[in-house]
């Protein structure tokens, strides 16, 4: 069975029908890159996967935890979110906590880890993203790229089964993009399951196992990134690729 199973998911914002029946399965260890024009529903889809957006129809299942439309109790959401980590475009680090404390917060408060192990975990995660010397630094003392790497470390500390990344390099200065992508690439190599919305087409082609092209609220094309980039099957993907590359 797939690790992530998305079946017939619909989402409306008022009269705006944003997701129009999404079906998608993600296998353990897969790196899925989601691309598409602005407004095609990429972020909304990602956000439904950890319950930041409720769904109006369909079903989402992650590692045995299912979420249906109008069936999302606090307990279900908690169970889902323990399995799904998320990294945001704007980092969203907690400004009043140091890098280390940002990582330790959820492991202590949510998982009930004791301070000692939480500290060790946080240190290990910072080491993983190459920021072992920034444990005591506050977010506003870090560059954008460093903040985003702390945000990745914070999500990883919860040992999620899947990591969602929504345009995590879009708010960065160009020279900082690569340090973040390098971390993602390393995670992919270690077998982390990743679902990422990205505008980095070259990265999607290089690192992605699957490419999802979203168009008007639907998965318009799905397949091997290298094949799809070389030979888009639909004119919509062809025109999208030529407009961004």
């Amino acid at each position: 069975m797939s690790l992530v199973d998305i079946r017939g998911v619909h989402k409306h914002f008022g009269s705006n029908h944003v997701l129009k029946g999404i079906d998608l399965a993600v296998e353990p260890g897969e790196v899925v890159a989601i691309i598409g024009r602005s407004g095609s529903g990429k972020s909304t889809l990602l956000r439904t996967l950890n319950g930041l957006e409720s769904i109006d129809a369909g079903e989402i299942e992650v590692d045995g935890t299912a979420l249906k439309a109008h069936q999302d109790s606090a307990e279900q959401l908690r169970s889902l979110r323990l399995k799904v980590g998320m990294v945001f475009q704007q980092f969203n680090l907690f400004p009043h906590l140091s890098a280390g404390e940002n990582i330790m917060l959820a492991t202590t408060v949510v998982q009930g880890m004791d301070q000692e192990s939480a500290r060790d975990t946080a240190k290990a995660m910072l080491l993983k993203v190459g920021l072992q010397d920034k444990f005591d630094a506050y977010p506003d003392q870090l560059s954008g790229g460093q903040q985003q790497r702390v945000a990745i470390a914070r999500a990883l500390a919860m040992s999620p089964r899947v990591l969602l990344c929504d345009e995590i390099t879009s708010a960065l200065d160009p020279e900082l993009v690569n340090e973040v992508l390098a971390v993602v690439k390393q995670l992919a190599a270690e077998g982390m399951t990743l679902i990422m919305v990205t505008h980095e087409m070259r990265f999607a082609r290089e690192v992605g196992d699957k490419l999802v092209f979203m168009y008007q609220g639907l998965v318009h094309e799905y397949g091997d990134p290298r094949e799809l980039f070389a030979q888009p099957r639909t004119p919509e993907l062809a025109s999208f690729i030529s407009s961004v590359m």
Binding site: L52, V84, P95, L105, A106, K134, Y138, S143, R154, M158
Partner: protein, 228 residues
């Protein structure tokens, strides 16, 4: 004929001044602590729209914000006993300070909470934190930090406003002033000294609140800005 200043006539009553200033500070301290707690509760209730407490706080805030402090004090001191609630001038003064400050604090803290960036809450949610954990660990401190200057000013406004508590014979600094000038007939000197004392108390309180803010509300910064 030139007016002959006679400040020693005031300083004969130093004890009364010190006691009065102590009472004013005490009223302010208790008022700020209890009023702050009430206002934090109110701010959360209003920001989260917890029914039916929500509309109760809304009504409460509107009533307090749109009536004079003195009338609130008189209502509590003379009005409550008519309802069978026995209350002395101390209790009435403290209660009025708490109720008054609680209302303003509710609005200030509500504004602070509502200014929390959406992304902060989403980050906490995505880490599987529940509503209470999110509030306690992610929302509260930055919200207080945002509104700390406004809260401090409000505490000082209420401290200065507490002068009217002398109207119901609470023996605060203003009460001491009235008492002293009725004995020495030196109104100018007495009120000048008391004005200066209020000024000092206000400065002192602001310093204290600034320190509390730096020490307990703002992030515990490492001293060197060279971490990057």
């Amino acid at each position: 004929m030139a007016y002959q200043f006679d400040f020693p006539a005031v300083f004969d009553y130093t004890d009364a001044l010190v006691t009065g200033a102590g009472v004013t500070l005490g009223l302010t301290l208790v008022g700020a602590l209890l009023g702050g707690a009430l206002g934090t509760l109110g701010g959360v209730v209003r920001a989260w729209r917890i029914h039916p407490l929500d509309w109760a706080f809304r009504l409460y805030v509107e009533v307090i914000r749109n009536t004079p402090f003195l009338v609130q004090l008189l209502f509590i001191f003379f009005g409550l006993p008519s309802l069978g609630v026995q209350i002395n001038e101390w209790q009435a003064s403290i209660l009025t300070m708490v109720v008054n400050l609680g209302a303003y604090t509710t609005e200030i803290i509500r504004a602070g909470i509502e200014a929390t960036p959406r992304g902060q809450i989403e980050a906490a949610q995505s880490l599987a934190m529940n509503r209470w954990q999110t509030f306690r660990h992610v929302v509260l401190r930055p919200s207080l930090q945002r509104v700390w200057p406004a809260l401090s000013s409000q505490v000082i406004i209420v401290m200065l406003g507490s002068a009217v508590c002398s109207q119901i014979a609470t023996e605060d600094l203003t009460f001491a002033a009235n008492f002293i000038q009725s004995r020495n007939f030196r109104a100018f000197e007495t009120y000048l000294v008391v004005t200066f004392l209020y000024f000092l108390l206000a400065l002192l309180t602001r310093q204290l609140l600034n320190w509390v803010g730096r020490r307990f509300v703002a992030p515990r910064r490492p001293c060197s800005p060279e971490v990057r």
